[in-house]
């Protein structure tokens, strides 16, 4: 009986610790303002709202509207997504309520993206995609096989959110001379340098502050604004969902979505590491972090960066499987002399998602080894189109050049190779839509042979 009670107590205390929200008091020494919270990542949530809204307008092909949410910093922009729905009211309706003067373009990755013709930088590629989307009907280019809504959205999430968090805040900004913890981030703020650096990275992940007390399925439904989870989403019970702290965006949604389907634990792993890291900074009580503390903080950052990268790779893996399935459907419809337009539309959509996530992996300055070249070559610059053509380059005017790529159906083999490459290179666990019949697991077992030349 005693043992049972004890284990119950331990279990309860563990769950209490595990369900800690991302809320932390002021620790800045000498602060005499009225703020009680040191957490602040409104600018990042503003960019999430910009991204969601950009995705909405990308489907209209209206360049002026797209630029409003992509490169403009003007005041008075209305949030197009998420907006209040029956049973799921949202607190903010304008970008300025989250943060003013924010855009997506200037925060995007400025390194080279090798997976797109012409080797543009991440920023140039986003600009190209937005410009090209404006020249299409509803963001869809059937001639070259591009769904710009998907390409822009999936790549932007990587080039802005993943890049800024992993390549910037959880990397160089953790050094001792960058925004030290014994100083305010900026004069007048209630938070220290390191507190805000960490918060900004968390903001880009896009998880609700009470993420640890939510299941993966609940997080997914919050993004979908399902009224059934409103009570869970509205953590402070004020009757509205605050986008700043109660909504799930971008990769937090994808992490939870993968977990909900496959039973993996990406969302909570990342969330827990963010909470642990922030607690460590809070525990320093406004003093500069010691080398040992920063080492521990970097360990949390490494957990986040690895799992975040895996989430993006898992999404690419899943859509490679969708592209494979679409090609199978196209073959069946073609054989029956049916109308392939709907199946082809899905093929282009899923390819856009695959390519967007694959490009996102390149957009954070992390060394992908030979996986980067492998993904670029196997996925190509476009899906293989009817007539067995594929985009291979840009011409002098920025137009796409197509060439023969071999039979369209053979592109399925590339998808199998893409899935294997992703599974092996990023140690994937969920592997949704696996079209390899579980090949990577067997390969892992067989890799025991290693490199020694052993005789018999």
């Amino acid at each position: 009986m005693k043992k049972t009670l004890l284990s119950l107590l331990v279990a309860c205390s563990t769950s209490v610790i595990a369900a800690q929200p991302y809320e932390f008091g002021v620790t800045l020494q000498g602060y005499d303002g009225s703020a009680t919270s040191s957490v602040s990542y409104g600018g990042q949530i503003a960019r999430h709202a910009l991204h969601n809204s950009l995705k909405k307008v990308a489907g209209t092909g209206d360049q002026a509207q797209m630029n409003t949410y992509f490169s403009s910093t003007e005041a008075g922009r209305v949030i197009l997504d998420p907006v209040s729905k029956d049973g799921f009211p949202v607190k903010q309706s304008s970008i300025d309520e989250l943060s003013s003067g924010k855009d997506l373009l200037s925060s995007a990755y400025d390194g080279v993206i090798t997976g797109w013709p012409g080797n543009p930088t991440g920023q140039e590629l986003l600009e190209q995609l937005v410009d090209a989307a404006a020249k299409t009907k509803a963001g869809y280019d059937p001639v070259n096989g591009y769904d710009y809504v998907q390409l822009i959205s999936k790549f932007a999430m990587g080039a802005v959110f993943y890049n800024k968090a992993v390549n910037h805040y959880l990397e160089e900004k953790l050094e001792a001379d960058q925004h030290p913890n014994n100083e305010a981030y900026k004069p007048g703020t209630a938070y220290t340098g390191k507190e805000h650096v960490w918060d900004e990275a968390f903001g880009y992940f896009g998880a609700p502050a009470n993420g640890l007390s939510l299941s993966a399925k609940e997080v997914v439904q919050i993004t979908k604004q399902n009224p059934e989870v409103f009570a869970k989403a509205d953590a402070n019970g004020d009757g509205v969902v605050d986008l700043k702290s109660e909504m799930a965006f971008a990769h937090a949604y994808y992490a939870a979505s993968v977990d909900a389907s496959a039973g993996t634990n990406y969302f909570h792993t990342i969330m827990q590491a963010f909470v642990d890291g922030r607690q460590l900074i809070s525990d320093a009580k406004g003093k500069a972090l010691t080398d040992a503390q920063r080492t521990e903080l970097k360990e949390c950052a490494a957990v986040i960066a690895t799992a975040w990268q895996q989430v993006i790779a898992e999404a690419a893996f899943k859509y490679a499987g969708s592209v494979y399935a679409d090609l199978e459907k196209i073959a069946v419809i073609e054989e029956a002399h049916g109308d392939v337009s709907k199946a082809y539309r899905n093929y282009v959509k899923h390819w856009g998602e695959l390519k967007g996530f694959a490009l996102a992996l390149e957009a954070a300055g992390r060394d992908l080894g030979n996986a980067q070249a492998g993904l670029d070559r196997l996925i190509g610059f476009s899906p293989v189109l009817f007539g067995d053509a594929q985009v291979v380059a840009l011409d002098g005017n920025g137009g796409f050049v197509q060439a023969n790529a071999g039979p369209m159906q053979e592109y399925k083999l590339n998808m199998i190779k893409v899935q294997n490459l992703l599974a092996q290179s990023f140690a994937l666990k969920a592997k949704l839509n696996d079209k390899t019949a579980g090949m990577s697991d067997v390969l892992e077992q067989l890799n025991a042979a290693a490199q020694s030349a052993e005789n018999d």
């Binding site: 294997n420 090949m439 077992q445 020694s452 030349a453 052993e454 005789n455």
Partner: protein, 333 residues
Amino acid sequence: MLESYLTWLMEELAAAGSSLLDLRKRVSLWYLLSAVGFAFVVFYWRYGKHGWQRLLPYVSPKVWLSRSSRTDVGLWLCNRLLLALLIPKTLTHALWISGLYYYWQKQGLTPLGLGWSTTWVMVLFTFCYVIADDFSRFFTHWCLHKIPVLWAFHQVHHSALVLTPFTVFRTHPVEGGLFFIRSLCVQSVLVSVFLVLFPNQVSLWQIYGVLVTTFLFNVLGANLRHSMVVLSYGPRIEKWLISPAQHQIHHSTDVAHYDRNFGVLLAIWDRLFKTWLPGSDQQTLKFGTGRAIDRSGVIGHWWIPMMDCADVIRHGVVKRCRNLKKRLTIREP
């Protein structure tokens, strides 16, 4: 440049050293010790309290510090560095298996849909893998002895004058490449076919991350094959499993022992190919090739086989030319 090269060098050597604790490697300390334990029990059972003395050659400094033994270790480390540069890593298998997996489906191969449990599929796949792997090893080994160009390289393994567990690494890099191709062929075909027939159910039966048969083979004294400890499994078992004593016969300089016992795990292949010989605890053998290579170092073991291979090819060409000339001469009026 130099710094990154040195880092790579140290990493590769450290990885080689880690084999000593890696259960997937035959020379792991656990298997080196388990071999002693296994032999100790067998010898005690057969020869009583003095049986342990038969294990003394296993730890003899004379054996371990000999030039032959030092060459074993030299080849192990040097080959590893060379093969790390020459042999493409991990993804090669994935590409081949992906290609074949897709090819079989295009040829009309479909899942069997027998409704078998994953456990049964695992057992069947493991059985087929062990059989295919063991036979391919046997056949490759048979070819290495029977084809002169290949023997030029395989003589490196037979140049050992004393046997230690590290003789397993006494291999020419070209032969290492052949082993890589063998494993690529067997794994690609078998895995790709099974993946089509039993999608999402294929796995190997493993213990501590090691194939079950490899684990048992290693625990039960695989390292004794390359040692000066003579252990026979007895005539009945040796008809089915290759004992350390049988493999030592394979290394013997005695003409009567040439081209015998090519098998690794199973003895059935040797019986099929009429190359089987039983072993005995009482056998006394000499090892080596009886040629200069026996006493050369790492460089010699890399270089001499290349020269021998060139000689074999040259002689073959000269012989063919002579035969052709003879035939043409006979036809002339």
